[in-house]
């Protein structure tokens, strides 16, 4: 097997055969980006040779904090790969050439991000935060702020951070207590403490640019009173070089279940009353501005979850191919000779489950990025429809893919038995590391609330109907392929139940039982993820099934396996077809029970009394 990070063949299948990126590259905006297969090849090479070897050592060594100097040290092995990552210009690959980027489609950028996250989540995670900060300054910054900060951030020379969370302001961001007092020169004096700040301090970059949510003294309570500030660690001089030390310090780092190679800091702003910040964008518009950064990050966090799942799945395939235990239960095999455990049906079941969620989740993340690209090359209502799909799908990409990463890394541990629980293999690290993706950039509970109330009901189901319209077209196309008609019918049934459920939830919103919706947000997101993946699998089946038939025809098992053993392409399409059929024909069946659950009229969740959980 070529690589244990991400299946490049499947990435190319989605990019080329499913989404037809070549057609996207015919738009003038992307006309010089036909080299995307080379981009992917080189990204894999870089991730395998430079990033991945740093990961296990990074986890073992971890980040250290010196309370005397208040300095944070990243693992030694990170310095070389980080420098090379920046030298390659990867961070700004999808940004405009005007800001130093290369303008590749975001769909290609998402594929590269999956590979880099799988290579080293710690390093690329830090770098991507920098990119998000650069995007906010690009969108809302003054010319001067762009000149001083933006290009250095796009180039990764300085670290960007997101400073929202405070001890009393987590999911309730409106409770932020950090204060900004105007100075005579137009800057602000910032005072407050932020926690859970990823890469808030370390030794890989010369300067830090913190994006800080704070309330200008006298502004209203809640999120409407929040503004966004640039707070540099070293205040740049007129030429943009790091100058005077600002009063912002790391006062401690978190000791976590995983993510040991990516530091999580507590940051003190203005402990000595000398922290200067600069207003970014408009006063009182901090939340929408920060959400510009946050939305990009949420999509990427979904890709992070996907990368852990992919990594765990491919390592599990590799492990089970090389671990020989027990005889085969297949009647045409020697029952007494030990076989690789990948041949045991229960192990196959786990692997096929992982494959179905990984490849479905990949299609989901790439399709959402593709919608962003399409919104950028189309106009008017069409562009609006693509944008609406992005709005609708972003919380699903984030929450569904990350929830699945926790399940899939657990399945990978199970595949490897006792060895899966030991640090000789990567499985336990992947499980420890992936859990955080369900928590940061808005917990998955917050994503579910966002989906239900803002993206569905708040949008009066307009974007939802755009999505189901696309599902209808795929179902109709699959229905015309004889061997897929049954699968098309199952997906149609799931889609129709989803539509009925959504209509029911919309009706509930205006009724006395409206409160029930709050208890149903997370199960609904899970269900909508299930059905969306079913649609994406069906779409992939409409491409893979004819190609498989071309390669193997209607041959019997023996002849077919002989072809699959020799023909990698045929084996790939066979795998795609099996994963799609397993997902729709087996896994999706669980969803029909979930629909029942959502329809249940009794709702003890709402009625439960807080003192009654424990006697």
């Amino acid at each position: 097997m070529a690589t244990l990070l991400v299946d490049k063949r499947d990435q190319m299948f989605i990019l080329k055969e499913m989404l037809d990126i070549d057609a996207l590259c015919r738009f003038p905006k992307y006309a010089s980006h036909t080299g995307y297969p080379m981009v992917l090849t080189e990204a894999h090479k870089f991730a395998n040779v430079e990033l991945h070897p740093a990961t296990a050592e990074g986890d073992r060594q971890g980040c250290t904090y010196d309370p005397k100097t208040r300095a944070v040290t990243f693992p030694d092995c990170f310095k070389g790969p980080y420098r090379k990552l920046l030298d390659g210009g990867w961070l700004a690959m999808c940004d405009s050439p005007e800001v130093g980027g290369d303008g590749f489609p975001l769909t290609v950028g998402t594929a590269v991000s999956e590979v880099f996250y799988a290579g080293c989540f710690y390093l690329y995670g830090a770098a991507e935060l920098t990119h998000a900060a650069a995007k906010v300054i690009e969108t809302y910054g003054s010319d001067e702020q762009k000149r001083i900060y933006m290009k250095r951030l796009f180039a990764g020379e300085w670290q960007g951070t997101m400073c929202l969370t405070e001890p009393q302001a987590g999911s309730d961001v409106g409770a932020v207590q950090t204060v900004a007092r105007p100075n005579a020169d137009g800057s602000y004096n910032i005072v407050g403490t932020k926690i859970f700040i990823t890469a808030g301090e370390h030794d890989l970059t010369d300067n830090f640019v913190h994006m800080v949510l704070a309330r200008i003294e006298g502004d209203p309570a809640g999120t409407r009173g929040l503004s966004l500030f640039i707070v540099p660690k070293f205040t740049p001089d007129a030429a943009g070089n790091p100058g005077a030390r600002n009063d912002v310090y790391c006062t401690g780092i978190e000791h976590k279940m995983g993510l040991h190679g990516l530091v999580t800091c507590t940051m003190a702003f203005g402990d000595s009353n000398g922290c200067t910040g600069y207003l970014l964008g408009e006063r009182g518009k901090g939340m929408p501005e920060m959400f510009h950064m946050m939305n990009e990050q949420r999509l990427l966090v979904g890709v992070e979850g996907l990368s852990f799942s992919s990594n765990a799945f491919l390592h599990a395939v590799d492990y089970t191919q090389n671990r020989f235990q027990g005889g085969s239960v297949y009647p045409d095999r020697d029952r007494n000779a030990p076989v690789a455990i990948i041949n045991h049906p229960d192990v196959k079941r786990m692997l096929l489950t992982m494959k179905a969620y990984v490849e479905g989740g990949r299609a989901l993340a790439y399709f959402t990025s593709y919608c962003i690209d399409q919104a950028g090359v189309t106009e008017g209502e069409e562009s609006g429809r693509w944008h609406g799909l992005v709005e609708l799908l972003t919380p699903i990409v984030k929450a569904y893919n990350t929830d699945k990463s926790w399940e899939i890394t657990a399945l990978a541990i199970q595949c490897a038995g006792g060895y899966g629980y030991c640090s000789d293999y990567p499985f336990e690290r992947l499980a420890r590391d992936c859990k955080v993706t369900t928590l940061f950039e808005g917990t998955n509970g917050i994503q579910a609330i966002d989906l239900m109330f803002r993206k569905l009901l708040g949008n009066k189901l307009v974007n939802f109907r755009t999505l189901t319209g696309k599902m209808d077209r795929t179902i109709a196309e699959a229905g015309r392929i004889e061997s897929l008609a049954g699968y098309a019918a199952t997906v149609r049934r799931a889609k129709e139940e989803l539509e009925a459920t959504v209509e029911g939830l919309a009706a509930l919103a205006g009724s006395e039982q409206g409160l029930d919706l709050y208890a149903k947000t997370a199960p609904f997101l899970d269900l909508m993820g299930d059905v969306t993946l079913a649609w994406l699998h069906l779409w992939q089946l409409t491409i893979a099934e004819p190609k498989l038939m071309e390669a193997v025809g209607a041959k019997g098992k023996g002849e077919r396996e002989a072809i699959l053993a020799k023909n990698k392409n045929a084996a790939f399409y066979y795998g795609k077809v099996m994963a799609g059929q397993f997902y729709i024909g087996t896994l999706l069946k669980n969803s029909f029970g979930k629909f029942e659950r959502l329809r249940a009229e009794e709702n003890p969740v709402i009625d439960m009394f807080e003192k009654s959980f424990v006697a």
Partner: protein
Amino acid sequence: MDILVCVTRVPDTAENEIEVSKDGTDIERGALVYSINEADNYAVEEAIQIKERVGGSVTVVTVGTEESEEVLRREMAMGADKGILLTDDAFAGTDGRGIATILKAEVEKGKYDLILTGALADAGAGEVGGMLAAMLDRPYASLVNSIEIVDESTLKVGREVEGGNTEMNRIKLPCVLSIQTGINEPRYVGIRGIRQVASVQIPVHGAGDLGLKAEAIAPRVQRQDYFVPTFGAGAEMLEGSNEEIIEKLVEMLKAKGGLK
């Protein structure tokens, strides 16, 4: 210094499981993933570094099929200035001497101070560089692991010799050098380079353009058979977990007197 680097596209051994084809004269090539020959990549990096030190240009050339264009484009994304694809139905099935003949014809169309090849390609013969030098009647050094520019007409080159030792030579330009892996650390291809070369037109030269007749490149060596050696007597495969294998190995070494 104007440098020509001869490169070739080979199956990527990191991405493929290589199997001998049924008739034994080739490997199974269906759905193989290809990449630049590793030693050639070092040669291109060396050429780029020389250009960065003293100026000039780097041209990469390959004899192959239309698909070979991808390795030229890759090396151009890495920093080569130009690529040339030499392809023609008449080139199919030629041998090392034939490839050297084709390259010679292309070399004579340009003006190159230095020609680099990788030390070895996939078939492992390591013959093209030496043959090309002989055909061009230019000085040649093989297995080069260091290059120092002495003056405009002279290089000092190190050659890897037996036992990990290095032999130092002075060699007059223009010359041909075959480059050993490890001479440098090839740079990664960055995103900017890939975009810049994506739509560059790469000139394609066929037998007619090069003034070559079929008999000049007809193979004189024909491969008869590839085969995987059969297991000999005395070999024993140790099985089990890593710990079990280590334990068995230690016991065997102790039993044979290799460990005390």
